[in-house]
Each structure stands twice: as structure tokens, then as C-alpha cells.
């Protein structure tokens, strides 16, 4: 909401600087997003009149009269027409901060100067070249056209504060914040003797609880006076003609959307729901198909406006219009929001009706606009007004308890202070005691202030959040173990310690990932994705991990190890989300056993693990393994299948893993039990051998253990070269010291068994 300070001061007097006012409003809940200084810093920009336009592909070549000379300028705004007044900047011009004159050169056409868009003059951002009022003098400095040094507050109005979508509403808020009073506009209507004769029928009083209208006859459609144009321009609205400008002006002033019909083109007004199949062509030339839920304004035959959202073509005010039917209404906010979403139509009107307008403002704004149309359009207001309403709305009465207010805020306010604060906001005291205050809620806050707690908030924000104490409470709740958090943090610390970097990836992906990985496309799609790249939920971590690998490889980071703890998503009877751990290793030092070592190190923290061979399309058939933790299959790892690698254009092997954390964490045994330390010495014996291809490490261990029995405490593989292996066997008895002869005999026995059973060739 744009609030020109000069305009605001017509309703509330204050001496604060714009910055101080902005600070006060912000701290009372209405954030001032920006303070705009119009014309400040803008120099040598003048008003030009378009004399001729010529289309050249995506551009218009405009001939522009600057008063002193005529220039040719190229623009990409195709909406310009002959006769339009536009701001023209030249090389010597100064524009809003950070914007410079850009020249568009087109083959064969020389371009002088630039046509400015509103933000280039320090106004709100817009796609189109700014159009100045049609009576703006050619060659005049735009600062004069815009109103010199207009200062405008740009407010971010909260969704519950429909009452602040008007200058008067903001004036009321400023008055409350500054503890001051407001001055309402002085509306004096002069009606003729003839009475309003239009028939109005409201068929749906729930969607339209109040419908008012007046008729003004003999209106001359022409340009608005400068004082209206200036206010509209500063508020970001383009002046069109006096009647349209007045409806916009009153919309800004009161926050009440109005609609002006050409009274001669409307035989009667029926407010009803659209019939299935009905259509309407709106003012912006769209043909809309209506359905039966949508509220319309119709004449005796057809819809002439989508209620509260947009008028139709054919009944609008045109240059030859003489008699005006002016509508002011209260439409059901929910219905307006629904229709606006359904038709994808948003307008200044729909936004205001959607937040709810002021019940009393419906009448006040109608009179204000009728008065202005009569004054500025030399028309006559017919006697009386149409006012069809469900029932009169009365101010709601609400009680606020003193103790409850202090209980919620942590304050020590008294009844008198509460009455004072609410009084500043226009809540009138009905009755009060030490314990409780009853007030009536102004109709402008209808729908926003409905409960005691809403009053508590009003008290808090005007009292000042900064005046409320800062304390810290604790509650005596049962301590939780937060096991998932603890374990996943452990995982992250261990893996980072092992040299891997943690990544954070999107859980929503490109739907092409299953095809790249040779998987079935059983993902959950998003109905309204922002982009195709982020349109399905992943069923597996791998594609996210590979995306991160791919990014790094493309940026010449060839050696990397990464991991992530994240979720995958499946649809069964309901939606299932599973916490997973996944990662990848590639480049220098990366191989199957490097990754296996990391996984072993990780699982060693939680319990005992082993590995078994598996078949997976995701992995290299000769370098793939299943991970078994405490006898449960928890995941897999190995080299990424070379076919997939090729699809990603990875030049070196990438080793990947994925572990289901839900299964892993549930398999962790909670008890850790201490075993006594050995009391007697150990004896080590080494064995070196050549093995056949069919012999595995696991087979060797098994053979040694089988023969060694309880005498063998530990077996370590300490050297590997091609098919040569060297092991160190540790012998120990927990009850006595083993003799040299005993150890030698057992060791010989083991060597013999290795030779006969596995056919290894012992090395001396």
C-alpha cells in the first residue's frame, strides 16, 4: 500500500519526519518496506508526446515531440500509442539511484533518449513505460508533472489488517500510534429532486450482504484535475478519465472498491450466482467462462461484471457516457478469494474485498465518490440511494480480562491503561471494573477483532513490545532420549572424521532419474511443481548424491568423498518416509576397499557388521556388496555400475553406498558389557603364502579358526601383493601361559590344513 505523506496529512496532523513515522508504524506492526522520494535526484527528464509509432519486429520506433525538438526513440514496450504522454530521458538525465540511460540501437535507425518506466523515476516497478496524464505539458520537467518531491511510504500491510488498505485507515492507525485524532473528509451531497429509478435485486445475500448504488446524470467525461492525478500517480495508479479516476481515488482513500457502469446500458441490476455456461468479456478483453459458484452482477439477461473482481466490457464508462450508475458493495471475502483463485484474476478490488471491507465505509465511499463525480463531472446526483442489506451490522462488544492480559503478556497492566490504549484505537468503553473491560469494536476492524485475545494483541502492540520484560521459563517435562538425533550426529561426525564431506541435496528431483539408473518410476509426483527439475520425490538417495558428484567433477574437483543423511519417499497404503544414509567416493585413493573401510569404521561404532555378495543393477557386478549389521540387511555399497557411470559421463569409477537408518538404528543393541582383559602373554606367528584365485580371505580365516579353536585369539592380514598373502596369527590361552612347543605344534597344524584344504603354497 502506497501512502503519499502529503495526502496522509490531510487526515492526520503530525510533525514527525517520514523516517520517524516509518519507525513508529513498523514497531506497531505495519512494516514500512520503503520510503520513496519522488523526483529527488531525477533531473532532465521531460514530458514528451508520441506523434507517430512504427512497428519493427519486437520494437516500436516512436516519433516524440519534446516541444523544442522532435526525436526518434526505440522502445520494446509495444503498448504505446499515438497521443500518449511519456517521460523522456536523454544522455544528460539523472535517473533513480543506480539506473542509467540505455540506448537501444537497431540497424538503420538511430535512437535518441529513452522512455522511462516508473521505477526508473523512483516509483514502483512496472513492465511498461510510464504514461503521464494526457494534459501534461509537452516539454515540462516530469518532477512538476509528478508533484515535486513527493514522499511516499510503501507499507507491507498484514493479511489481517484489511482496514489499512486505505489512506484513511492508515491515518487512523497513525493517530492511534501517535495518540492523536483524525479528520474525516467533509462530504456534502446535493441531490436533485428526481429519484433513483434503477431496480436492484440481490438474490444471494450471503455472498453479497450489502449492495448500494447511486445514479449521477449528465456527467461530462474528461480529464481529472491535477490534484487527483498527482495523488493517483504517487500511489502507483495511472489516471484515465474523471469518473474512473474518482472511483480509484475513493478506493485509495476509503479502501472501498467502487464500480461505475454506464447507466444507459444497464436495464436493471441482479446480484446472483452465474449460471453454468455463462460467459463474460472483461475490461482487459479476456473471455471468461463462469461456473455456478461465481457471484456476478447481471442485467436482466446476462452478467455485466464478476462481482468485486472485474467489470465487463459493454457497460463500462466511455467518453460518450452521460449517466453513471455507481456501485458500492460488501462481498463475502471467502467467496471473492475463491473466485479470484479460480479465475486467476487479481485486482485492487479483489484484494480488498478478499480481506473484508468496512461495512460503514460502503455508504461513506459511495457518497464521497458521487459528490466528486457531480463536482468534477458537472453531473447531478439523483435523490436517494439503493441500499440492499441482509441486516444492519452492529459493533461487536468484547470483554478483555485484566488478569488474562497480564497472564499472556507477562505485564502488570491495570484496567485504566487498557481502556486508554484501546480508546486510542477507536474501541469505545462500554463498561469496566478492576478485573475486566468491555469495549465495542469499530466496524472497520470487523472480522479481525473477534476474540479477547485479539484485544490483548492490540493492547500489546500499542503498549509496545519493547516495554515487555524478557524472562526465561523452563518446564518440567520428561527427558527424551532424542535417539535419532544422537545417532545421526554420531554418523556425521564419524564420516567427516573419515574424510567425507556432508552434503545437503533436494529431496525433489527430475522425473528422468529412474531411467538413468535403470529403475522403475515409482516415485511420488508433485501436482504443481515449480520446475520439471524439481517435480518428483526421490525413492532412493543415489540420484541426489550423483548430482552432487556430477557438479564437482564438472568443476574440476576430481577427488571427493561425500555423504548425506536424508529421506526417501514411497507410496504404499499411505505415504512412507524413510531416513537414509548415502554417499560416494571417487578419484585418488578411492576404491572398493577404501569405501568398505569407511563403512566398517562407521558400523564399528554401533555393533558388529559383515558383508555378503549381492546382485544389483546399480552396481558393478564384480564389486558390489550387501551390508549386514547385527544380522540385518541394512544397505549396500560398491562401484557404480559402469553403464550408469557412462550415462553420467563419469570418467573414473565412482563408489557409492546407501544404508537404511531406520533398520540400522533399530538393530543397535543398547547394552554394552565389559569383558576382562587377558592376564597371560600372547604369542604371534606369521604365515605367508601364495593362493589360488578361488581362495578367499574369508575361507582362509575359517580354516585357521577351525584348526586353531580357542587358542587363536586374532588373525590379521598384514600384507597383500597379487596372489600373495601374509597373516599374523595371535595365540593365547586365557587361563595360562602357552609354551613355545604348544604354539609351534598348533601353528604347524594350521599350516598343514591351509595346504591340504585350500591348496595354498607356503612361502618360507
Amino acid at each position: 500500500m502506497k501512502i503519499p505523506i502529503k495526502w496522509l496529512k490531510e487526515y492526520v496532523k503530525f510533525k514527525l519526519s517520514p523516517e520517524d513515522l516509518a519507525e513508529k508504524l513498523t514497531m506497531a506492526g505495519t512494516e514500512v518496506g520503503a520510503i520513496e522520494y519522488h523526483g529527488g535526484g531525477i533531473e532532465n527528464v521531460v514530458c514528451g508526446k508520441i506523434k507517430a509509432v512504427e512497428r519493427n519486429d519486437a520494437h516500436l520506433i516512436c516519433e516524440i515531440d519534446l516541444g523544442t525538438e522532435i526525436i526518434k526513440t526505440i522502445t520494446d514496450d509495444l503498448s504505446l500509442q499515438v497521443g500518449d504522454r511519456v517521460p523522456v530521458a536523454s544522455d544528460e538525465s539523472k535517473l533513480a539511484e543506480g539506473i542509467h540511460v540505455k540506448k537501444i540501437a537497431l540497424s538503420g535507425v538511430e535512437s535518441f533518449g529513452m522512455l522511462c518506466r516508473p521505477h526508473e523515476l523512483g516509483l514502483a516497478k512496472a513492465d511498461h513505460v510510464m504514461k503521464l496524464p494526457l494534459d501534461a505539458k509537452i516539454g515540462m520537467d516530469v518532477k512538476k508533472v509528478l508533484g515535486k518531491n513527493g514522499i511516499v511510504l510503501d507499507l507491507d500491510v498484514l493479511p489481517n489488517r484489511g482496514d489499512l488498505q486505505s489512506i484513511i485507515g492508515v491515518a487512523r492507525e497513525v493517530a492511534a500510534v501517535l495518540n492523536d485524532k483524525i479528520q474525516n473528509p467533509n462530504v456534502k451531497l446535493i441531490e436533485t429532486n428526481r429519484k433513483v429509478n434503477i431496480k436492484v435485486e440481490v438474490k444471494d445475500k450471503e455472498l453479497c450482504p450489502r449492495y448500494m448504488a447511486r445514479v449521477i446524470e449528465g456527467v461530462k467525461i474528461k480529464d481529472s484535475p491535477q490534484w487527483i492525478k498527482e495523488k493517483l500517480l504517487l500511489s502507483g495508479v495511472r489516471p484515465i478519465n474523471n469518473v474512473v479516476d474518482i472511483t480509484n481515488f475513493v478506493l485509495l482513500e476509503y479502501g472501498q472498491p467502487l464500480h461505475a457502469f454506464d447507466a444507459d446500458k444497464v436495464d436493471k441490476i441482479v446480484v446472483r450466482k452465474a449460471k453454468a455456461g455463462e460467459k463474460i468479456k472483461t475490461l482487459d478483453e479476456q473471455e471468461l467462462k463462469l461456473d455456478s459458484g461465481i457471484l456476478v452482477i447481471a442485467d436482466s439477461k446476462k452478467p455485466i461484471a464478476v462481482a468485486g473482481i472485474m467489470g465487463g466490457i459493454g457497460t463500462e464508462v466511455a467518453l460518450n457516457t452521460q449517466n453513471i450508475l455507481l456501485e458500492s458493495a460488501f462481498f463475502n471475502p471467502i467467496s471473492i478469494n475463491k473466485t479470484s483463485q479460480m479465475l486467476k484474476l487479481r485486482s485492487e478490488s479483489s484484494v480488498r474485498f478478499g480481506k473484508g471491507v468496512d461495512w460503514d465505509g460502503v455508504a461513506a465511499a459511495l457518497d464521497r465518490a458521487a459528490q466528486l463525480i457531480a463536482e468534477l463531472g458537472e453531473g447531478k446526483i439523483l435523490a436517494g440511494k439503493i441500499d440492499k442489506k441482509a441486516k444492519s451490522r452492529k459493533c461487536k462488544q468484547l470483554a478483555i480480562r485484566v488478569e488474562n492480559t497480564n497472564r499472556l503478556l507477562g505485564t502488570k497492566l491495570k484496567a485504566a491503561e487498557i481502556i486508554k490504549i484501546l480508546g486510542r484505537l477507536g474501541f469505545k468503553k462500554i463498561k469496566s471494573s478492576m478485573k475486566s473491560v468491555t469495549v465495542s469494536v469499530p466496524l472497520s476492524r470487523f472480522g479481525d477483532i473477534e476474540r479477547e485475545v485479539d484485544l490483548v494483541e492490540e493492547v500489546a502492540r500499542i503498549y509496545g513490545y519493547d516495554k515487555i520484560d524478557t524472562t526465561i521459563s523452563r518446564v518440567s517435562q520428561e527427558l527424551s532420549t532424542d535417539a535419532f538425533e544422537k545417532n545421526s550426529r554420531k554418523i556425521k561426525e564419524i564420516l567427516a572424521g573419515a574424510g567425507l564431506y556432508e552434503v545437503q541435496t533436494f529431496s525433489i528431483l527430475d522425473p528422468k532419474y529412474p531411467e538413468r539408473l535403470g529403475l522403475e518410476a515409482d516415485y511420488i509426483p508433485i501436482a504443481n511443481p515449480l520446475t520439471e527439475d524439481e517435480s518428483v520425490l526421490r525413492t532412493i538417495m543415489l540420484p541426489s548424491i550423483l548430482k552432487a558428484v556430477d557438479h564437482n567433477l564438472r568443476h574440476q574437483i576430481d577427488d571427493l568423498g561425500i555423504f548425506e543423511v536424508g529421506k526417501v519417499y514411497h507410496k504404499a497404503k499411505s505415504y512412507v518416509e524413510t531416513n537414509m544414509l548415502a554417499g560416494a567416493l571417487t578419484g585418488q585413493g578411492a576404491d572398493f576397499f577404501a569405501l568398505k573401510g569407511i563403512i566398517e569404521t562407521l558400523l564399528f561404532e554401533f555393533g558388529s557388521s559383515k558383508f555378503e555378495s549381492i546382485q544389483s543393477n546399480l552396481l558393478h557386478p564384480g564389486q558390489s556388496a550387501g551390508i549386514i549389521f547385527e544380522n540385518k540387511a541394512v544397505g549396500w555399497f560398491g562401484e557404480l555400475n559402469p553403464d550408469i557411470s557412462k550415462r553420467y559421463d563419469f570418467k573414473k569409477p565412482v563408489y557409492v553406498f546407501e544404508i537404511n537408518l531406520e533398520v540400522l538404528f533399530s538393530a543397535i543393541k543398547l547394552t554394552k558389557k565389559c569383558k576382562p582383559l587377558p592376564k597371560f602373554p600372547k604369542s604371534d606367528r606369521d604365515v605367508a603364502m601364495f593362493i589360488k584365485d578361488s581362495v578367499t580371505h574369508a575361507g582362509i580365516l575359517e580354516t585357521i579358526r577351525e584348526v586353531g579353536g580357542s587358542m587363536v585369539e586374532d588373525i590379521q592380514l598384514f600384507d597383500v601383493y597379487k596372489n600373495s598373502r601374509a597373516y599374523r596369527i595371535t595365540y593365547r590361552d586365557k587361563n595360562r601361559t602357552l609354551t613355545v612347543d604348544e604354539v609351534n605344534a598348533k601353528h604347524e597344524e594350521i599350516l598343514k590344513s591351509l595346504t591340504t584344504k585350500l591348496g595354498v603354497e607356503l612361502r618360507k
Binding site: V475, Q477, E485, K492, A496, F506, K567, Y575
Partner: protein
């Protein structure tokens, strides 16, 4: 005979001067003082000498022996210390060479900030809870006092899976899920991923939030202010000013937006070179989180008596805090996972 002793002594001393290391010294010792050494041979020879000459001869022999033993002792000390020095010298290292190493990875900056926030609340006695990413319209909106077609729904641009099923737009549904199952007193934080249909340099379709709430008898807005001020001081430093200003959320009343003094310009709105601060858009303040007292309508859905219990709730975007803390200007950097980026934190 005495001459022979003298000759051995002279030879020994002259040879000793040429000795350069411990091995030569040992050879010298064996030659003169060893079991078969020259001096030892002379001692053995005593028995061939007339008895009356023996004392005189023996005395001379002893003097020479002691002399040589002392000399060798001294020489050994000199040689040993020279030897030690040489060894130390030869094993000196270039301390500027790189360490051998354990290559350590790092936690993602989002995780680092998330852990920091979570740890602060764990110390304040909060427990962790979580909820699903795929939520129902009921938990994400309706139970939080955001009815269908209400103007406030525009505050969240939502990604839908199907009708009434969506990707949660905030972590606030966890409030409802916890309060449905448990009774006060409660102090809960819920970290997690959230989704919005919105993307640019400061907005990401997927990002992280931490939700927190406390419900008991007599929990006040002052408690909310105290707790969040403590949090922000812990994250951004005690010297930073914090302000609470009125705002609107359908699920809290009163509601507040919390700002912290701009980390870029120190709250001045302008940089030291006079340029305007882009981080805070010249306001001197950074919007950090939204919060408020839980709305009685939320309690009513859960059958909590709002006259008996009160509570506060807050939600904050972790990426936003991390961006401000680390000076990151583009949110997309978090999710590209470029190692050159991740190594910096």
C-alpha cells in the same frame, strides 16, 4: 723396562690425538687396555722381572694405566657429544613441510547452524520431535487456524501432491502432532526440511526450519522474548541488538517478527565507505524469525483449555541464519555441494 712403559704411553697418546670416532677409540682401547692389550701384556710380564724391581715397575705401570684410562674417558665424552650433535643435526626436519595426514571432511554449514540452534534449546530443557515432509492440509493449515480460502493462505506458496496432501510449507504441523499425543508441560523443538513453490537467490524450494514451542501454565510473551533474545545472542553475539515488532500469523496471537541488528553494517544502514547496505536494505535490521503466543483456536482444536494453559511458538529458517552468519549471498550455494564451498565452514 720403565722405558718400554714410557714408549707404550707415548705411542698411545700420540695415536689418541688422531682418533676421530668412537669405533677408533674402541680399537685404541683394545690395543692398549684390552685383555691382550700392550699394557696388559706388560702387566703379565711382571712375573719375569726381578722381585726387587717389581714394586717400582708396578707403580709406573699403574700410573700409566690410570693416565690412559682417564684420557680415554675424556676422549669418549668429547666424541660422544660430537656424535650426538651430528645425529641430531642429521635428523633435523623442514618443519614447513605438510603434515602427514588424516584428511578430515566437514559437516555441511546448514547442519552446523542447525546443531548450534538445537543444542541451545536442548540446554534449555527442550526435547526434539519430528513430523513427515508429506503432510495433510489439516496439519499444515487447518489445525493451525488457516482455513481454506482464507486470505492468509497467500503467505505460503504450496507444493501439492494431491488434494489435501502437500509438502509441508513450515515445521509448524509438528506442534499439532505433538500436542495431539501429549499433555503440557511441553517444550519441543522440531528441525526439518520444508518446501515452498518459490525460488531465487534468497528463496529455495527446499529449505530447513527449526520450529519450537513451550506450553504450560503461565508461559508469557515475556518468556518468548527472553528465550529468543538468548538464542540470538548466542548465535550472533551478545552485543547485537534484538527487537520484537508486531506481526501476523494465523496460529499465534499476539504475533511478532524478530529482527537482529544488521551483521553487515552494524545496524547503521550504511557502510563505512558511505554506500548503502544491501543486506538490510538500509534499515539496519535483519528479519530473523517469526513467533508469538499460540492462538487459542489452535488449543481448542486440541482440547487444551486456553484459560488454563498458554504457550509460545516460533519458527526460523536455518539457511537465512547461515547466510547472515557466514556472509553467503546466494542460497543455491548450499545445495550445489561444491567442495570448495563446503571446505570453508
Amino acid at each position: 723396562m720403565v722405558e718400554r712403559i714410557k714408549a707404550v704411553e707415548d705411542e698411545a697418546i700420540s695415536r689418541l690425538n688422531e682418533i676421530k670416532n668412537l669405533q677408533e677409540l674402541e680399537a685404541w682401547r683394545i690395543r692398549y687396555l684390552g685383555k691382550k692389550g700392550l699394557l696388559t701384556e706388560l702387566v703379565k710380564n711382571l712375573k719375569n722381572i726381578p722381585t726387587e724391581d717389581r714394586p717400582h715397575f708396578g707403580k709406573n705401570l699403574n700410573i700409566t694405566k690410570n693416565k690412559l684410562e682417564n684420557i680415554i674417558k675424556e676422549k669418549r665424552v668429547t666424541l660422544e657429544s660430537a656424535d650426538k650433535e651430528k645425529k641430531i643435526k642429521s635428523s633435523a626436519v623442514d618443519i614447513t613441510m605438510p603434515g602427514k595426514g588424516i584428511k578430515r571432511g566437514k559437516l555441511h554449514p546448514i547442519t552446523q547452524v542447525m546443531n548450534e540452534v538445537v543444542d541451545i534449546f536442548l540446554r534449555l530443557g527442550f526435547s526434539i520431535a519430528d513430523g513427515p515432509d508429506i503432510e495433510t492440509d489439516y496439519y499444515n493449515f487447518e489445525a493451525l487456524n488457516i482455513p481454506k480460502h482464507h486470505a492468509s493462505r497467500d503467505m505460503w506458496s504450496t507444493l501439492y501432491i494431491e488434494k489435501d496432501t502437500l509438502l509441508r510449507t513450515h515445521t509448524s504441523p509438528v506442534q499439532i502432532r505433538v500436542m495431539e499425543k501429549k499433555k503440557p508441560p511441553l517444550a519441543i523443538i522440531a528441525p526439518g526440511k520444508v518446501y515452498r513453490r518459490d525460488a531465487d537467490v534468497t528463496h529455495s524450494t527446499v529449505f530447513h526450519q527449526v520450529e519450537g514451542f513451550m506450553v504450560d501454565k503461565n508461559i508469557t510473551f515475556a518468556d518468548l522474548k527472553g528465550t529468543l533474545t538468548a538464542l540470538l545472542h548466542a548465535i550472533f553475539g551478545k552485543a547485537k541488538r534484538v527487537r520484537f515488532r508486531p506481526s501476523y500469523f494465523p496460529f499465534t496471537e499476539p504475533s511478532a517478527e524478530v529482527d537482529v541488528e544488521c551483521v553487515n553494517c552494524g545496524g547503521k544502514g550504511k557502510l563505512s565507505n558511505g554506500e548503502s547496505c544491501r543486506v538490510c536494505k538500509e534499515t539496519g535490521w535483519l528479519e530473523i524469525l517469526g513467533c508469538g503466543m499460540i492462538d487459542p483456536n489452535v488449543f481448542k482444536n486440541l482440547k487444551y483449555d486456553p484459560d488454563k494453559y498458554s504457550g509460545y511458538a516460533f519458527g526460523m529458517g536455518i539457511e537465512r541464519i547461515a547466510m547472515l552468519k557466514f556472509g553467503i549471498s546466494d542460497i543455491r550455494l548450499f545445495f550445489e555441494n561444491d567442495l570448495r564451498f563446503l571446505k570453508q565452514f
